[in-house]
Amino acid sequence: MATAIERFDERARRRFESLGRTVVYVGELRRHPVYTRFLHWMVALFFFLALFSGFGIYLPWLFRWFTPIFGGGPLARALHPWFGIFCVFFFGLQMLNWLKPMMWTPADTNWMRNLRGIVSGKEKLEPPDTGFFNAGQKLQFWEIVIGCVVFLITGIILWAGARTFGSTLVAISYVLHDVSAIVMLGGIFVHIYLSTIGEPGTFQAMTRGAVSEPWAWTFHPAWYREVTGRDPRESYEKAREETERAVTQNPSESKLRSK
């Protein structure tokens, strides 16, 4: 079973790599293949379509201005489940694709203990044993997995309605569907922040598929070690000495930079 999934993912990755390409410049590392990037943006697209078409049904008196975007209430209601199905479908593939790097390890438990230092910005470098994904990313991933399962089950119940599933089940699903949306939306805010302005240099991982080496040794040191064979701390110290030397040799540079 597991190997069948791996073979499927392997084939998909190869197929997609021949459709698109991932250019890695000198000083960069390859992060996400075309297949992963394609799935990620399909998930994001359909997630937001489902989210916005759902807003008008979630709190109609507040979000009624969302429904005209989808051609009015009836059409928004008719499209919403399909957006959701596509989102869950693509995320399902992404889940298989990412199952391995998303497994929880002792390093992740360690990372969670450091959470305060990381959020407060005191710890500039991630713990040295942080691998391809950190514990925060893994938690979010598994939250979305659970969320998608809840969405799918409760969504089908709401879709077919009380005629098929009875009033009680529909009423319960109504609440759980909301809970799943609220939790996921809260998480997505954090996700978008961290992958864009919160941790500069991350966004290109999902667009071009490559990241800079400093990004890698800062945020995912164990992964850096794995793919380059170099020690992340050493690489960092070397780079730091170089910048400092450059600054002392050329003080105008430092004035320029500090503006």
């Binding site: 049904i57 209430g73 500039k124 005629r163 009423a171 909301d178 500069p200 240099g201 780079a239």
Partner: protein, 301 residues
């Protein structure tokens, strides 16, 4: 031909702000009284409903009872439910109950509905669906304690008994009332109908030996604008789908009006939180950063 409606709306599904038309007009609470003890199951009301509302003559289902079909349909709003109740002495009692929308004072359908103005309640108590606003989600079906709203799968619009709002608005009684040959159906103000119903129940208790006779006007949903006189008011379930304590699922009450906005706001605070993080703590950059003014190179030491 003025645009002044005969019926004014007092409640409207999913509507932000005040209800237009509030306070324009004084109105009495109307009520339909169904006396199950004098219903002979003739189905004149079923036919009158189909006739007045110009509904198609659909196929009926024969299942060895005196009931026209298992339940109401989107284009068949008035059904005489037939049930056999075994008495203690071994004989059976035939129960005929006219099943239709109960026009609850606290309508579960209206509470559940997410479409602005798809369900309205007039000041006279009638609960009515405006199909042009309906988005076909069927939440009303699960909000209704009486299994009344029905979806037209072809058009994705929900329909139910209107209490002949078109007739009542013109000062006429509903079509079913007009057709009833035994006087088992009556129509008037809620106060009058309640009075007559209680008198009739008392008569049944005093003169007909039905000690448990009573009126069905469930308090749990604020009372209804269709009330029944029952042979045995302690066990309404025996009449087929008449719950003793009808309730609206809390998903459409507390959850919808309190938790949804509050928890939704919490999710939005997530957005506010990251914004605050950005302007206070600031982004985490790949290291090393270029040295800053104080001369440290930003790695915390």
């Amino acid at each position: 031909m003025s645009d002044r409606k005969t019926l004014q709306i007092q409640r409207m599904s999913a509507h932000p702000g005040p209800i237009p038309g509030t306070g324009v007009q004084r109105d009495v609470q109307v009520c339909k009284l169904v006396d199950t003890t004098t219903c002979i199951g003739c189905k004149a009301c079923e036919v009158a409903c189909v006739e007045w509302n110009d509904m198609p003559f659909g196929a009926t289902t024969f299942d060895n009872t005196y009931q026209t079909m298992p339940e109401t349909r989107w284009n068949f709003w008035n059904l005489i439910k037939f049930n056999e109740h075994p008495r203690e002495d071994g004989t059976v009692q035939w129960l005929m109950r006219k099943d239709q929308c109960m026009h609850c004072a606290d309508p579960g359908c209206l509470a559940a509905c997410p479409a602005d103005g798809a369900i309205v309640q007039y000041t006279n108590g009638i609960v009515d669906f405006n199909q042009e606003n309906c988005i076909g989600c069927e939440y009303c079906v699960s909000g209704c304690p009486f299994n009344i709203p029905k979806l037209n799968p072809g058009t994705k619009k929900v329909y139910k008994c209107t209490l002949c709002s078109d007739r009542v608005g013109e000062g006429l009684e509903p079509a079913c009332i007009k057709a009833c040959p035994t006087g088992c159906l009556k129509f008037g103000t809620k106060d009058d109908m309640k009075f007559i119903a209680e008198e009739r129940a008392k008569q049944l208790r005093d003169n007909f030996g039905m000690e448990k006779a009573g009126v069905y006007d469930p308090e749990s949903i604020g009372g209804t604008h269709v009330i029944y006189v029952l042979h045995d008011a302690t066990d309404p379930e025996r009449y087929g789908g008449l719950p003793k304590n009808p309730t609206i699922p809390w998903s459409y009450t507390v959850w919808k009006w309190l938790f949804k906005p509050v928890l939704g706001a919490f999710a939005l605070f997530g957005g506010l939180g990251v914004l605050l993080h950005y302007v206070t703590v600031g982004p985490r950059r790949p290291q090393p950063e270029p040295p800053n003014k104080e001369g440290t190179n930003g790695n915390g030491d």
